[in-house]
C-alpha cells in the first residue's frame, strides 16, 4: 500500500478509536450519573411529599386553633405542592419491583388529598365537620409516612439490584478501556515502527545499490518492490538508470575506438599526401634530360624508378596478378643492378600458367629488398637470386633463393614469428631487420589464413630460400 494512503487511513482510524473510547466512557458514566440523580430526585420527591402531608396536618391543626389567614394560605400552598409532587411521582412511574405498592401509595395519597380538600374547603365555622375530616386525615398520616419510606426503600432496592450490575460493568469497562488504550498505543507504536521501516529499509537498500554503482559495479541487482509501493517507481527508475548508464559506457567505448581508428587513418592519409605526381613529373623530366644528354641507362633507370614508385604508391591491400609482381620485381632488380652491376645475377624460372594468381601488392619487393640488404651485400661477386614460380590448380608456390650469408636460427625464428605483432622492444632492437619480410608474411596470413604457408631454408654462409604457398583462388 502507498505510504500516504496508509497514513491517511491509519491516523484518522486511531483518532476515531480513541475518540469513541472516550465518548463511550463519558456517555456511560453520564448515563449512570443521570440515573443516579434521577433516583435521588425521586427519593427527594417522596420525602418532600411526606413532609408536606405531615406539615399540612400540623397547619390544619393550627388553623383550627388560631384561625390565622397566614396558616390557611400556607395550608393551601402546601396542598398545592403535595398535589404537584404526587403528579410528579405519577409521571416518574412506579418502581419495577413495586408496581402495586406504588398504585396503593398513590391511592392513599389521593385519599388523603381528598380529605385535605374537604377540610380546606369546608367552612372553618363548621368546626365539627372540619375536625372530623382532620381526625380522619390524621389517621392516615402515619400510613403515608410509612408508605413513603416503603416506597423509598423499594426505589432503593430496585436501584441497588441494578447498581451492583452497573458498578461491575463500569469496572469491567474501565478495565477493558485501559487494556484497549494500552493496546491501541502499542499498536500505534508498532505501526509507526512498521511504517518508518517500510520507508527507511528500501531507501537504505537503494542507497547501497547507488554506492555500488558509484564504485563501478553496474551489474548490481536492484531490489524489486510491490507495484503499489511508492518505491516501485524509484526502484524501476534506478534500474532504468543502471541500464542507460551501461549503454552510455558501451557507446563511449565504441566512440573512443572509432576516434582512434580515425586518427590512424588520418595519419595514413597524411603520409600519402606527398604529392606523387610531383615525383613522377620530376622523374620523367630527369629521364628525358638523360635521354637528351645521351645517357640512356640513366634514362631507363629513371623510368624504372618512376614505375617502382608508382607501383609502391598503390594501396597495400590491393590484390594484383602475380604477373605484375614479377614485372615489378624485375624493375626493382634493374634498379638494384645499377648499383651492384655484375656482382648480382637475377634468375627467373616462372610457370606462366601460375601468373594469373592474385597476390597482395608488394609481396615480392620486400623479400628482394631483404636479400639485397642482408643476404648479398657482403658478397664480392657471383651473387645469384633465383625467383621460381610453380604450382598446381590449388596452390602457387613462390620461391626466392639466394646464395648469400644466410641467417642464423634466431633471425629465422624471429621472421617466422609473424603471427603476433612485433613488440615495441623487439622493434627498436632489430630496427628494420626483417620488418618488410615479416609484414609480407603477416599480410598473407591475414588474407589467406591457414591456406598460406611460409617456409625458410637457410644455411649460414650458403644462402637462404624462402618459399611461399598461396592458394590460386582465394576462398571467400
Amino acid at each position: 500500500m502507498k505510504i500516504r494512503s496508509l497514513l491517511f487511513i491509519i491516523i484518522p482510524l486511531l483518532f476515531i478509536i480513541n475518540g469513541s473510547i472516550s465518548l463511550l466512557l463519558f456517555s456511560s458514566s453520564q448515563q449512570v450519573n443521570e440515573s443516579y440523580s434521577q433516583l435521588q430526585e425521586r427519593l427527594l420527591v417522596y420525602e418532600r411529599l411526606n413532609e408536606h402531608v405531615q406539615n399540612n396536618i400540623q397547619l390544619a391543626d393550627q388553623w383550627l386553633s388560631t384561625q390565622s389567614m397566614d396558616v390557611y394560605l400556607a395550608l393551601q400552598e402546601g396542598s398545592k405542592q403535595s398535589n404537584q409532587q404526587l403528579q410528579q411521582l405519577k409521571a416518574y412511574g412506579p418502581p419495577p419491583n413495586g408496581l402495586v405498592d406504588a398504585l396503593s401509595y398513590y391511592a392513599l395519597i389521593e385519599s388523603y388529598q381528598q380529605l385535605e380538600q374537604l377540610f380546606v374547603t369546608s367552612s372553618i365555622h363548621n368546626t365539627l365537620l372540619y375536625s372530623s375530616y382532620l381526625d380522619e386525615a390524621e389517621l392516615l398520616s402515619p400510613h403515608i409516612t410509612e408508605d413513603s419510606y416503603h416506597m423509598i426503600s423499594l426505589e432503593l432496592g430496585a436501584y441497588e439490584q441494578r447498581s451492583a450490575e452497573i458498578l461491575q460493568e463500569m469496572y469491567a469497562m474501565r478495565l477493558s478501556g485501559i487494556t484497549l488504550l494500552v493496546g491501541v498505543t502499542l499498536l500505534c507504536l508498532w505501526l509507526a515502527y512498521f511504517i518508518s521501516s517500510s520507508i527507511t529499509k528500501p531507501i537504505h537498500e537503494l542507497v547501497q545499490t547507488a554506492e555500488r554503482i558509484a564504485q563501478g559495479n553496474l551489474d548490481q541487482p536492484v531490489a524489486q518492490y510491490a507495484k503499489q509501493s511508492d518505491f516501485y517507481r524509484l526502484g524501476a527508475a534506478f534500474k532504468k538508470m543502471q541500464k542507460q548508464l551501461k549503454r552510455y559506457i558501451a557507446q563511449e567505448k565504441e566512440t573512443l575506438e572509432k576516434d582512434k581508428q580515425l586518427k590512424e587513418m588520418e595519419l595514413e592519409v597524411l603520409k600519402n599526401q606527398i604529392n606523387p605526381h610531383f615525383l613522377f613529373n620530376s622523374l620523367n623530366v630527369m629521364s628525358k634530360l638523360a635521354l637528351i644528354e645521351g645517357a640512356e641507362r640513366t634514362s631507363d633507370l629513371t623510368v624504372a624508378m618512376a614505375n617502382l614508385l608508382r607501383y609502391n604508391l598503390k594501396q597495400l591491400d590491393t590484390p594484383v596478378p602475380l604477373r605484375d609482381e614479377v614485372k615489378h620485381a624485375n624493375d626493382y632488380f634493374y634498379i638494384q643492378q645499377a648499383r651492384y652491376r655484375d656482382r648480382v645475377k637475377f634468375q627467373t624460372d616462372v610457370d606462366e600458367s601460375q601468373l594469373d594468381t592474385t597476390v597482395p601488392v608488394l609481396t615480392l619487393q620486400p623479400l628482394l629488398e631483404n636479400i639485397f640488404v642482408h643476404g648479398i651485400e657482403q658478397l664480392e661477386r657471383d651473387a645469384v637470386i633465383t625467383l621460381r614460380i610453380y604450382g598446381n590448380n590449388e596452390f602457387t608456390w613462390i620461391t626466392i633463393q639466394d646464395n648469400g650469408v644466410g641467417m642464423n636460427e634466431q633471425t629465422k625464428a624471429q621472421l617466422l614469428d609473424y603471427e603476433q605483432r612485433p613488440s615495441a622492444a623487439a622493434q627498436t632492437h632489430h630496427q628494420s631487420t626483417g620488418l618488410g619480410t615479416r609484414n609480407v608474411f603477416r599480410r598473407l596470413q591475414l588474407l589467406y589464413g591457414n591456406q598460406h604457408e611460409v617456409k625458410i631454408d637457410s644455411v649460414e654462409d650458403e644462402g637462404t630460400s624462402i618459399t611461399l604457398r598461396i592458394p590460386r583462388h582465394k576462398e571467400v
Binding site: S28, Q38, L103, H143, S176, G177, T179
Partner: protein, 322 residues
C-alpha cells in the same frame, strides 16, 4: 515471523478489549435504560391487597404464593402486606390503610370486632374476602379457608385413634383468640367431651410464635406435671412445644399439631409429633382470588369456601377430610 506474531497479538488484544469495552458499554446502557424504563401505572388493572396475620410466617407466605400466582393469571395486581410480628392492632391499622388506598379488593383474616371497617370498605366499593378465619359479617363477600370446626374434630379423632393411654391429660397451645383457633378448640373439646379418660388440663396462647409456644409448654408442665399429651392449634405451635419439651428433657410426651411447616414432617417421622392436621394455604390463596374473580366479573360465587385438610402421621397416610 516475529513481526507477524506481534501484529497478530496486538490486533487480538485491541479487538478483544474493544469487544469487551463495547459490550460493557452496551450492557450499562441497557441496564440504565431498564432502570429508567418504569412500568406505566395502569389504573385499569384490578388491585388486590392481601393482609397477612404475620408477614414472614411460612403459612402466610404459602398463601400469598397461591394468591399471587392466581392473581397473575387473571391479570390482577396483588399487594402483600402484614405486621412483622403477630399484632391484631397493627393488622387492623393495615386494614384501615388498605381501605384508604382504594384497591379493588382486600383479602384479610376475619378480624374480631372490626365490622365497621368491613362496612367502610363495602361503602367504598372494595370487595373484602376473609381467609383463614371468618367473622360473622354481612359486609365481607365470602370466606375461603379451612372448615375449622371439622379440622378440630379431625384432630380429636386422630388423638383418640392414636393414643393408647389410660388417662390422658392434654395441654393445649392455641395460636390466638382468633375465630379459626377458637373454632378448632371448641370442636375438639366437644369431640373429646364424651371420653372421660381425656381431660384438658389447660389452654394457653402462643400468639402464633414458636418461642412463646415453647415458653408456654414449659410453664404448663411446671404448673401441671401430669400433662402427658400436648396439642398445638396453630401452625408453629407443635414445633414450639417440641422445643419446650426438649428444654425439659421430656421427649416422650406425644404432641399433636396443625399444618406442615418448618420441620414438622421430620418431627413426625422421628415420632415426636404423632400427627398434624395440614391445611392447604396455597390452595386457600388460589381459591380466594378465584372467588374474587367471580365476584369482580359479576358471576355467581359461593360464600363459604372450605378447603380440605389432610392428616399427616408417621404412616404418612393422608386422610383427606371429607
Amino acid at each position: 515471523m516475529t513481526r507477524r506474531i506481534i501484529s497478530l497479538l496486538l490486533s487480538i488484544t485491541v479487538l478483544t478489549s474493544l469487544f469487551f469495552f463495547i459490550s460493557s458499554a452496551i450492557k450499562i446502557n441497557s441496564t440504565v435504560v431498564e432502570l429508567n424504563d418504569r412500568p406505566l401505572a395502569d389504573h385499569e388493572t384490578k388491585r388486590i391487597i392481601l393482609i397477612a396475620q404475620e408477614l414472614d410466617s411460612p403459612y402466610w407466605k404459602l398463601l400469598k404464593e397461591g394468591a399471587s400466582h392466581q392473581a397473575a393469571s387473571y391479570g390482577y395486581l396483588l399487594q402483600y402486606i402484614g405486621p412483622q410480628r403477630h399484632d391484631v392492632d397493627e393488622q387492623t391499622q393495615l386494614l384501615q390503610k388498605a381501605i384508604a388506598s382504594k384497591p379493588d379488593a382486600i383479602i384479610t383474616q376475619g378480624l374480631e370486632g372490626q365490622e365497621a371497617l368491613f362496612q367502610l370498605a363495602q361503602q367504598r366499593g372494595i370487595a373484602v374476602i376473609t381467609i383463614d378465619t371468618d367473622v360473622p359479617s354481612t359486609s365481607r363477600i365470602a370466606y375461603v379457608g379451612t372448615n375449622n370446626v371439622l379440622a378440630g374434630r379431625q384432630l380429636a379423632e386422630l388423638m383418640l385413634s392414636s393414643l393408647e393411654l389410660e388417662q390422658v391429660h392434654v395441654g393445649i397451645i392455641i395460636g390466638s383468640d382468633a375465630q379459626n383457633q377458637s373454632e378448632r378448640l371448641h370442636a375438639m373439646q366437644e369431640a373429646l367431651a364424651e371420653h372421660a379418660q381425656i381431660d384438658i388440663v389447660d389452654v394457653r396462647p402462643s400468639n402464633i410464635s414458636r418461642l412463646q409456644a415453647a415458653q408456654m409448654t414449659v410453664e404448663m408442665l411446671e404448673q401441671y406435671p401430669q400433662i402427658n399429651v400436648f396439642v398445638g392449634l396453630s401452625g408453629l405451635d407443635a414445633v414450639g412445644i417440641i422445643d419446650g419439651l426438649d428444654s425439659l428433657h421430656k421427649q416422650n410426651i406425644p404432641v399433636f399439631g396443625f399444618d406442615n411447616l418448618l420441620n414438622t414432617e421430620a418431627l413426625i417421622s422421628e415420632g415426636r409429633i404423632i400427627g398434624s392436621i395440614v391445611q392447604q394455604p396455597l390452595m386457600i390463596g388460589e381459591q380466594a382470588v378465584d372467588v374474587l374473580h367471580q365476584y369482580l366479573e359479576g358471576k355467581p360465587y359461593i360464600e363459604h369456601n372450605f378447603v380440605s385438610t389432610t392428616v399427616l402421621t408417621s404412616q404418612n397416610d393422608k386422610e383427606v377430610q371429607r
